[in-house]
């Protein structure tokens, strides 16, 4: 059985609600700040149904009376009693979510969307390029890879953040970096002399790694412009288009391919994405009006 088969089996068993438009109730078990504008909530289904999902999928989190936001699941897909979301506070819904307390109730629809198919990377080098909050949607894929570490070859994570204080999941990054055949390089856009690490954009980190391009698969997640430059670097170094995966974001409403809010040329991000193979969207990816 492949890694994704294992999770798929579980996903089938655990549809929280039959109607994808009706939210289920979830209780906040933990809520804490990761940085000064980004927090994580751990939630549990009030029906005590295990919640299974695939790495890269997202949920619509509903604050009663206010609205919903699409938020990726960032916890370990092999742990299904509770799930976590790391959220950047940017507007109405995310601000209200940040103000909730342990024990409060939210609505949830999901999981939705395509996923990081890590099975494809078995036996290969995996290069993960993330910027800012982009580490959150990729964390379940990283957990999957680490849980089955021996099945993959080298794992390289290149991670860029705005400042040192914006780096997420620092304790885990430290732990992962101690694993054999794993290289984790971080960089920040802005720093001062107290910061001893790298400063510069994430693409700058490419000069510190040697890629075996023919045997490399890559997952890229972050702001579009950061993904554009990162993909250019991967292609320049010989990684095949079909070996590059990325996730796209657009405003969402229904999350099931009905309303058209998330339309991305001929695709719907909620249904065909958010995880795409670069070769499937390259023609539209470089047109920023799309």
């Amino acid at each position: 059985m492949t890694l994704t088969d294992e999770t798929k089996l579980l996903t089938e068993e655990s549809k929280v609600t039959a109607d994808p438009m009706i939210p289920s109730l979830f209780t906040i078990k933990k809520i804490f700040w990761e940085t000064d504008d980004t927090f994580t909530i751990e939630i549990e289904s009030q029906d005590k149904v295990p919640f299974n999902f695939m790495p890269g999928q997202f949920n619509m989190l509903y604050v009663f009376g206010l609205g919903e936001s699409a938020i990726s699941i960032c916890s370990d897909p092999y742990k299904n009693k509770t799930i976590s979301h790391t959220i950047h506070r940017v507007g109405n819904v995310t601000t209200k979510l940040s103000q909730l307390k342990k024990g409060d109730t939210i609505g949830l629809r999901g999981p939705f969307g395509s996923h990081w198919d890590v099975d494809k990377f078995i036996g290969k080098d995996v290069v993960i390029i993330v910027g800012g909050i982009g580490l959150a949607p990729l964390r379940p894929a990283i957990y999957s890879i680490f849980r089955n570490r021996k099945k993959f070859n080298r794992v390289i994570i290149l991670y860029g953040a705005r400042t040192a204080l914006d780096l997420l999941y620092r304790v885990e990054l430290e732990q992962w970096s101690k694993t054999k055949n794993v290289e984790i390089l971080t960089t920040i856009d802005r720093g001062d002399s107290s910061w001893r690490g790298n400063i510069g954009v994430v693409t700058n980190l490419f000069s510190y790694i040697k890629l075996d391009a023919m045997n490399t698969y890559s997952m890229v997640c972050g702001p579009e412009i950061m993904m554009k430059f990162s993909i250019e670097e991967l292609l320049k170094r010989g990684v095949a288009e079909k070996n590059i995966f990325l996730t796209m974001e657009r405003n969402m409403k229904c999350a099931i391919g009905f309303c058209g809010h998330c339309q991305y040329s001929s695709k719907f991000i909620c249904k065909d994405g958010p995880v795409f193979n670069y070769s499937d969207i390259k023609d539209i990816f470089n047109i920023y009006e799309v």
């Binding site: 940017v90 860029g160 856009d189 002399s193 510069g200 510190y208 972050g222 412009i225």
Partner: protein
């Protein structure tokens, strides 16, 4: 260090990857092996840019003095990267400050010596210019990306 050793260091540095051996031989006399202890100021803004450096080990921080804003660290450079291009562009003055923020080993290349070699051998000059143009393009792109402040989302 013997010149053969420096020649190996030059050949092994990614900036000069696949440079024809005859060009390595040509620039060898402009090269020297250097070491900067952690904390050393390598050069200062406004000083004559006599050299550039192929970083081999350690880390260098490039800072701009924002005057009333103080010193701003804009970039760090590590193994395989190149520190400095002001030796190439008249009036050959550094535009930034550079510090070793780790013990740094590098190969220094004398700018004037190299400019003379390039005047004498335009093929070498063209080859080096191609490599520096790529470097400058990458730095420009990176600076633009930093300017966009991609990870910042304004609170509504």
């Amino acid at each position: 260090m013997h010149t053969e050793d420096i020649s190996t260091l030059l050949k092994n540095h990614s900036f000069l990857e696949d440079l024809k051996p005859e060009y390595i031989d040509l620039i060898l006399s402009c090269a020297s092996n250097v070491y900067f202890k952690d904390g050393t100021k390598i050069f200062s803004e406004g000083e004559e840019a006599k050299k550039f450096y192929l970083v081999r080990t350690g880390k260098v921080a490039v800072e701009i003095n924002g005057r009333e804003k103080g010193s701003i660290r804009i970039l760090t450079l590590g193994p395989g990267q190149v520190l400095g291009w002001s030796w190439l562009v008249s009036p050959y003055l550094w535009h930034f400050d550079a510090y070793a923020i780790d013990d740094v080993r590098a190969v220094a290349l004398d700018g004037e010596c190299l400019r003379n070699k390039c005047e004498q051998n335009h093929d070498l000059g063209y080859e080096l210019l191609k490599r520096f143009s790529e470097l400058l393009e990458a730095r420009l792109k990176a600076t633009r990306m930093q300017l966009i402040d991609v990870y910042k989302k304004e609170l509504n």
